[in-house]
Subunit: 777 residues, 2 copies
């Protein structure tokens, strides 16, 4: 079969499987990378391998000066009319952003524009119009027709390589533009330096250093086309250079073989081609040779790599196979797909990577992963990965966190890290619950004592986020540290996970110390108003107090008192007691969901989306809240809220995510919720039972066992859990234990049309709370 | 002995030896690092080990926006009233400049300024007044009193470490300012990025990336004080940052342990100290850990390292021991000292270094050296180092050049390289004669075939300096390439050295090809005017033609037709024939030296200094010219001109160099000339005999042999060579052969008051010329 015929067939097949009967569809078949590319999901439709180092994807626009920067956090917006090019690196669902490195764009014909041009003015630059009709996005594969150039562009990716395949129109010269000026969240001055060179063997290598979300991030690239270069131009578009220096060979000539500067653009010429051009691209944080080694670490052409990555996706997504109506199946399959993108591989094929100290390290015996969006992902994303990914992958995460701590100039575990660099985004030290949860769930193979020491260090470093005051006062004082209320409760939760892990390890001193700290949430809880509030150094609550106010740098982090007052996952019972007991707590939950916010305007707050009253599903602080009714002995209310949330916040369409996917957290919430349980308090080894949204699901666990989940009688009418059976035995608790899941077997829900007020309601049936914890836990 | 007493004694001794009787003085004793620090010598007085990686030296001013940039190419100007600080890297005698990395300044007391301040306003910043009375400069040691701070500062250096010793006034708090904004030739925007961090063990590490002479040069540092830090401040003085990013631990606090940015300054606090503070500093092009490893590669404190480096200097300078009147001895000893500073060690203790491709490489089995000022140093500096340095050092140079070619994005040997980076300064491919000369003089231990291939590649790369036209037309056309006349003759000479080496290796094809190219100088020689002139593509000479004009980008490189028309070292006889024969040539040489330039103004041309008529000793194109009388059979005229030059162009004082020392070339000229011979045509294995300026000299050769040079009867009156004897046998030639020098023994000049018109004048006694070469050569 000719490459072109093969490609057309592939495209047809890709479309065909989506339309095939539901029963025949695997999770791979159902995953739709377009979900979240509209609205504020901030996902990208391009090609990536599971946890892949490169994320090759179209950028419809870039640059904060030009357009809506927040909306282009992943480069692509489904509603945009043009594609600017295909860059090699993208975040999946980040709120803030960066990346978009090494943008390539195929251009056909003799006139090759070197500026992107205006989307409103077709052919004003190298960007091109495109149509969704001619667009395909599958896990590991993307294709689109670039209308203005007559080029069919396809993308695929392996773990450390991206491959572009461009079919140029017959009889027209083939060119590829490499624009080193292009970047996501591209403020003026972001490009500190860049370089490009043509090597004797035809490989194009180079580097870029950017001052973006991560300051002074260095990244190298290697680009290798499958046909010889016929010509090229390397140009520096910077003007008013204060000192240009002496100029080397080829000065004034476009075909200079090496160029450095801050505004470089390259044109690569291939002449008229009889078959599609394939361009392999790899990156490295170490150097150009390492980028070449990464490129060469994955043999084969476009089709070979596409096939391998398809197999990898089929295996990874096969961890959760489901039966459900097509829309739900597509939503859950895509959610699992989005949950398997990050943390991303970052070490080179030889194990080297650039760490948080900007120095090169070598990962010995593990693969260094980066892109840790921990404030988001400690909640459900990492717990999900412990269930659906091999131990080795989860061990890579833990070892990467610990290696990062070792290399941190501050001795701290990552907060929000990508490409090995710390961004200090969001709050807390949520690498701590990730490691503790993994340890408590049985992950071994790392130095647990060193890990615990690193966790204690991260929880005790005075200059970080008001920790010095927190350790002295028991709370973060708002007159010394912004977002003090949120910090206090998140620290207290993180502290509890340290106590849990230390206790399990027999390090009793640390366990006692951090168990005490785990109660610090009380110091910021105003029993009078029933809200978490920020206190000042003198102990008084800051006034004026408006529980609906959302302002950056205020008492709360991307939220207000309504969302944050529920954040005591380690001791929900004690918090409910402060609120006046279960009934009062449930009533307050109702007030939250039913709050009339018609008079409120949160349009100034980028991350605030997906509102149900004061419940904000588009951002993480709310994610566990619907499950809290179960702690109040009203699991049917949890079930009701979950239906409300799933139906209003997720859709099987490009605008199907109500908020940023946040590197898988929004999606992990859906995967768990669809299966019928959710990790409200990672570190407790419990999952609170909600209600399933799929008819059947098979969980292929990393220990080789399988858990079959069945929702008998599930329908829109049968929306309540009547009873639950684990391996045929009735389960009367509102929670599952981790060991129960890992043992495999069958979890059977029997659904019914009305609330079941006898199941899971007894005090002993309620999920873990620190103050009421049964001794065996 | 207390450190302070020891230090005072050292200072006294240092002063004392200068004043001691001449007879007792070794070359080490006589070397005076202040020579060249005034005028336009551009040398520095600070501490450096032979070929040392760090050059720790005071900067009296930095920054092109602020002051005379050219005059501060080495940071220090002897006439300046204040010292801004002590930076770790300096060029010795460069015209253009860079470096001045990692400036440290001790400050005593409670108020610590963090801006350098105005030299005209004492105490307006951290800079301090100083007095030459309290200043000591010896090879490997420098000391000065900082009047405004009451601090005695001493500097020493090992091969890969600098050590600062600061004695603070009793009872005052000791501080050190580290200013990462400071740099030499510091145009706005030069600092692309920098970082500083305090490690847990008290070591301060960091990095800087600059856009200076070498674009995007990366350098890392490690600073380790001998007492614990009591406190510190890391500050970013950049304003109007377009995107500041999220801020990490310690934001808003000065004692943050890590900071990145473009305008960093650090204050290191040591409290009140009972003994002087010692601060070790090392650099690396690889990373911070490598800088630490370099720092730790040299054990011992200030005194131990100072003693080791003194011993190293005594040995290195001991290669030439001389008897001469004190002023001459001081000039020649200092010249040898300046000749032993570069090329500098650049690979780390573990062999790694960052090469011309900005990537990290490892020198296997050799030490990578950089700072190759080849347009200058191919003439006499490298030939001198072949006589006074071990084979291993010269092999390091050759291997470093070859490794650089391997890593060059262009596949070219270095042109003007420092810190592993190519600057493309000046013209020619003069790594070629350096390698050829070394090979022809018997240096082995490198892959000569690969070297020859690299040389041919450098001589054949079309886009470099008009080489494509040169290869087609036989000359560089001025309508396509600036400085075409100079390029044509320098290429032709370089080509001849390729032919010589290829011939010696038996690679006859290359030898023939490049022997033909060696005659290309004829294509730009205008027999009519008797001058080298620039031709256009159509073959015509460019008009108007003014042999006295000096303009950058003109037909000539830093010079005019007068200086450049003599550059045919490979075939002086043929060139003299074109001029009309020996008499006409000698008469033209006379016209050059006696030219009335009272009406000419060359003040616009930075590198033009040291004029004797149209002879310009302050720049390299003239350096061989005085020796050319010997090719015309008039060696006594050479002797006269040498006396004229030595007496007018060199002084044993800070303003004792008439032009930039150019990494040792000006000095190497003096060393050779003082000994009585000079390598007019490296590659010929001959040295043209001039006349000695010292009574006796002993050359300790790298093969272990010794050549004793005696100038019988030398005096101001006895200024002519009467006869020469080699090992007792009369030597009637006007040249020495390299093998004769290397065999050791005694070279005896008998001096006389009048010209000796019979010695060295016969046609067979004249030095090598290609067209008249005797077959045995």
């Amino acid at each position: 079969m000719s490459p072109r015929a093969h490609r057309l067939l592939s495209a047809l097949l890709a479309t065909a499987v989506i339309a095939a009967p539901v029963a025949a569809q695997t999770t791979y078949d159902s995953a739709d990378p377009f979900i979240g590319t509209g609205g504020e999901g901030h996902t990208f439709p391009g090609a990536v391998a599971p946890f892949g180092m490169v994320q090759v994807s179209p950028d419809t626009d870039t640059g904060c000066e030009i357009r809506d920067c927040y909306g282009h956090a992943a480069g692509y917006r489904h509603g945009d009319p043009t594609i600017q090019g295909f860059s090699q690196t993208h975040f999946s669902g980040a709120g803030h952003s960066d990346l978009g490195d090494f943008l390539l764009m195929p251009v056909a014909g003799d006139a090759v524009p070197l500026e992107p041009g205006d989307p409103a003015k077709p052919r004003s630059g190298y960007r091109s119009r495109f149509s969704h009709d001619q667009e395909v996005a599958r896990p590991g594969y993307y294709a689109v027709s670039l209308i203005d150039h007559g080029v069919r562009a396809e993308l695929t990716a392996g773990p450390r390589v991206g491959v572009h395949r461009y079919a140029f129109p017959a009889g027209k010269a083939a060119h590829v533009v490499l624009d080193l000026r292009s970047s996501l969240y591209n403020y003026p001055g972001k490009i500190l330096w860049s370089s490009v060179r043509l090597r004797a063997d035809g490989t194009i290598t180079g580097s870029r250093e950017t001052r973006g979300w991560a300051p002074a991030r260095k990244l190298f690239f290697a680009i290798r086309p499958n046909v010889p270069l016929q010509g090229h131009a390397f140009l520096d578009r910077e003007e008013n250079i204060p000192y240009r220096g002496f100029q080397g060979p080829g000065r004034g000539r476009e075909d200079v073989v090496q160029l450095q500067g801050r505004a470089l653009v390259a044109r690569l010429d291939f002449g008229k081609l009889a078959s599609p051009l394939e361009v392999k691209v790899a990156i490295s944080s170490v150097d150009e040779d390492a980028a070449i080694a990464n490129l060469e670490s994955e043999a084969g052409d476009f089709d070979a790599i596409r096939a391998r990555t398809r197999a990898a996706w089929e295996q990874a997504l096969g961890a959760v196979e489901i039966d459900a109506p097509a829309p739900m199946k597509r939503m859950v399959a895509t959610a699992l797909y989005h949950a398997l993108l990050a943390p991303s591989i970052f070490s080179d094929a030889d194990g080297r990577y650039r760490g948080p100290d900007d120095q090169v390290h070598r990962a010995e015996g593990f693969t260094f992963h980066s892109t840790f969006s921990l404030w988001d992902t400690f909640r459900a994303e990492h717990p999900l990965l412990l269930l659906v990914q091999p131990e080795s992958r989860n061990l890579d995460f833990v070892k990467s966190l610990l290696a990062s701590q070792q290399a941190s100039p501050f001795g701290l575990l990552p907060v929000w890290q990508f490409h090995g660099r710390e961004t200090w985004t969001m709050i807390g030290y949520h690498a701590v619950p990730v490691i503790a949860d993994a340890y408590l769930k049985g992950l071994r193979g790392f130095d647990a004592d060193a890990a615990l020491d690193a966790m204690v260090r991260s929880a005790s470093y005075g200059p970080y986020g008001g920790l010095d005051d927190y350790m002295k006062l028991g709370f973060v004082p708002i007159d010394r540290e912004p977002e003090a209320a949120s910090k206090t409760v998140e620290y207290a939760y993180d502290d509890w996970t340290i106590a849990r892990m230390a206790g399990a390890m027999g390090r009793a001193g640390i366990a006692r110390r951090f168990e005490r700290r785990a109660g610090n949430w009380r110091n910021s809880f105003d029993a009078q108003s029933g809200f978490l509030r920020a206190r000042k150094v003198d102990g008084s609550f800051r006034t004026p107090f408006d529980p609906t106010a959302i302002n950056y740098g205020s008492d709360y982090t991307e939220g207000n008192a309504w969302q944050y007052s529920w954040f005591v996952p380690q001791d929900q019972a004690a918090m409910f007691a402060l609120l006046g007991g279960d009934a009062a707590a449930a009533a307050k939950l109702d007030r939250m969901f039913e709050f009339d916010n018609s008079k409120l305007d949160y349009s100034h707050a980028e991350d605030i989306a997906g509102l149900i009253g004061q419940y904000i599903h588009g951002n993480e602080p709310s994610h566990h809240v619907a499950y809290l009714y179960a702690y109040a002995g009203q699991p049917w209310r949890t079930q009701e809220r979950l239906k409300q949330i799933v139906e209003s916040q997720y859709k099987p369409t490009p605008d199907g995510l109500s908020g940023n996917d946040d590197l898988g957290q929004m999606s992990a919430w859906l995967v768990f919720t669809a299966l019928g349980f959710y990790p409200v308090a990672p570190g407790s080894n419990e999952y609170v039972i909600g209600r399933p949204f799929v008819d059947r699901a098979t969980l292929a666990l990393p220990n080789g066992k399988r858990l079959l989940i069945v929702a008998d009688g599930l329908s829109d009418a049968n929306r309540y859990v009547g009873r639950v059976a684990l391996n045929g035995k009735p389960l009367d608790r509102a929670y599952l234990r981790h060991d129960e899941i890992m043992a495999g077997g069958e979890l059977r829900f029997t659904m019914q049309p009305g609330p079941e007020r006898t199941w899971g309601t007894a005090p002993a049936a309620r999920p873990y709370s620190m103050s009421t914890a049964r001794p065996e836990r």
